[in-house]
Symmetry: C2
Subunit: 264 residues, 2 copies
Amino acid sequence: MPDPLYRRIAQDLRQKIDSGELGHGDQLPTELELREHYEASRNTVRDAVKWLITRGLVETRPGQGTFVVEKIDPFITTLTAELETGLGGEDTAYVSEVAARQRRPTVSAPRIEILRASEVIASELRLDAGSTIVSRGQQRYIDDTPWSLQITFYPMRLVEQGAVRLIQAQDMPAGTVRYLEEVLGIRQVGCRDKITVRAPDANETTFFKLPDDGRVAVFEIFQTGFDEQGTPIRLTVSVYPADRNQFAVDIGRVPDLGPVPAFG
Amino acid sequence: MPDPLYRRIAQDLRQKIDSGELGHGDQLPTELELREHYEASRNTVRDAVKWLITRGLVETRPGQGTFVVEKIDPFITTLTAELETGLGGEDTAYVSEVAARQRRPTVSAPRIEILRASEVIASELRLDAGSTIVSRGQQRYIDDTPWSLQITFYPMRLVEQGAVRLIQAQDMPAGTVRYLEEVLGIRQVGCRDKITVRAPDANETTFFKLPDDGRVAVFEIFQTGFDEQGTPIRLTVSVYPADRNQFAVDIGRVPDLGPVPAFG
DNA sequence: CCGTATTTGTTCGTATGTATT
DNA sequence: CAATACATACGAACAAATACG
C-alpha cells in the first residue's frame, strides 16, 4: 500500500528542502502551482504543507506564500558557567554568551506573589504540598526581544528569618543568592538543572511572539539551589523558545572556545 | 473579530485538559459528538483536534477515538556524572539513572563508516571540511525499547597513529575513550555538550517508533571531547525522543537525590 | 489612497477507505 | 459481518492578508 497522496507530496517537498534545492527562506510553489504539478486538490496540497509545518520545515504567510523556515543563529547558554561567574540579573545569570555577541540583556522588575506550593514545587523544595512560598517572576529580554520567562520560588521561612527583600518588587542586580548569604548566612553551594521540552502555553506563545502554528516548542529548565546542608533554598523555572536557544554543559577542562560558531 | 471556530473549539477542549476535567488517557468526545456539541462540521472539529495534536496534547487512534496523551515518566540522564563514573557502553555512558530503575540497557554493535567531514563536524573537531573521519554509530536500548541513536566521529589521524580498533565493528565495553588512552596515551580531560531540539527525521521516527503526527521532537546532543592540549578528539552526536527523556546537570555540591521523582 | 489580483485561511459538503471493536 | 471511529480526498464558497499598479 503506498503512502497517501498528501504524504507523498510532503515527502517530495521535504526532499527538495533537505537536498538544498529549496534553501532557507525560499518560497515554495503556491497552492495553485502545487495543485497543478501534483494533480491533486487544493485541500490535499494544503494537507501536505501542514505536514511540513508541524515538522518545522516551512511556514506560511497569508497573502504571500509558503516559505522554507530561516535557520536561526541560536543563543548559547552555558549552564555550568554559573557558579563561578554568577553575574548579571538576579538568580540564574547566563549572560556571558549574550555579552560576547554585543547584545544588551535586560530584565523586567520581578512580579512577587505569595502562594501555596503545588505538588511539583513542594517536591523540589522538599516542603509539604500547600506550604507557603514566595515567587519572583521576571521576563528577560535581549535587545528588547523576549528571551526567557523565569520564576523563582523560595520557602516562606527565608522571609520569616529576615530575608524581607525577597518580597519586595525590586530587581536585585547582585542576585538573590548573594542577598541570602549576606542577610542569613545561607550559602548556595550547588544546584541542579533539569532540562525538558514541551509545547508552549498561551502566555508563552504571546510573550515570545511564537508562530501560532505550534511548530516551536520551549525548553523548560528546573534549577534547584542547595545550601551547605543540602537543603533546597530555591527553585528557578526558566522557559526558552527551542528554535533560538541552545544549552552547553562543560565538564572537566574545556578549551576556551571564544565566539562559538553555531551548528545544525 | 473572534477567533475562528476551530480554534475556539480547540481552546475549549484544551481548557478541559488543563483543568483536569479530561485527565491523561481519557477519551475525548468522538467527532460526531463534537460536531453536535459545537454545531460545527466534521472538518471543522477535525481541525480543532489537529490543533491539539500538533501541541502534543491529544492523539487519535483510528477505529478507537481521540485520547489525552499519557504523561510519560521520563528517563533522567545526568550529563555531569560522566567523567567520574564513565562506565557502561562505549563513549558517553549515561547509565546510572537507568540502573537505578532496575532497567537493562543494551547497545548494538557499532556501525563503522569512513567518510569525509561535513562542515559542521569539521568545525567541531577543528579539521578542514572534507577531512577523512571515522564514524561509529550505535543504537541504544532500555529493556529492548529504543532509547537513543548515537554516532561518534573521530579524526582519521587517530587510526593512523595506531588506534586501529576504532575501525573494527566491535563494541568496546570499557569505552573508546579509555582505549585511546591505553593505545595512544591520549587522555580526554574534558568535554562539552551542546543541547538542541529539532524535529525527527524519517530514520529516527522509525527507530523510536514515534507517532507520525509529528508531535514528538528529539533532543540532539553534540558532545565534543578534548585532550590535555585542548584538541578535540571526538564528537558524539546523540539523539533522544523529547517526550520520554530529561537531562540533568549538577553544579557544585548537590545532595544525593536517590531515585529522583519526575516532575511536569 | 484605492481597487484589483494573488495567496493563504476558514468552513462547509460529500464520498470512500481503513482500523478497531 | 456489522457498527463505530478516524483517515483520505475531492469540490466549493467566501474571508482575510498582502502586493502592486
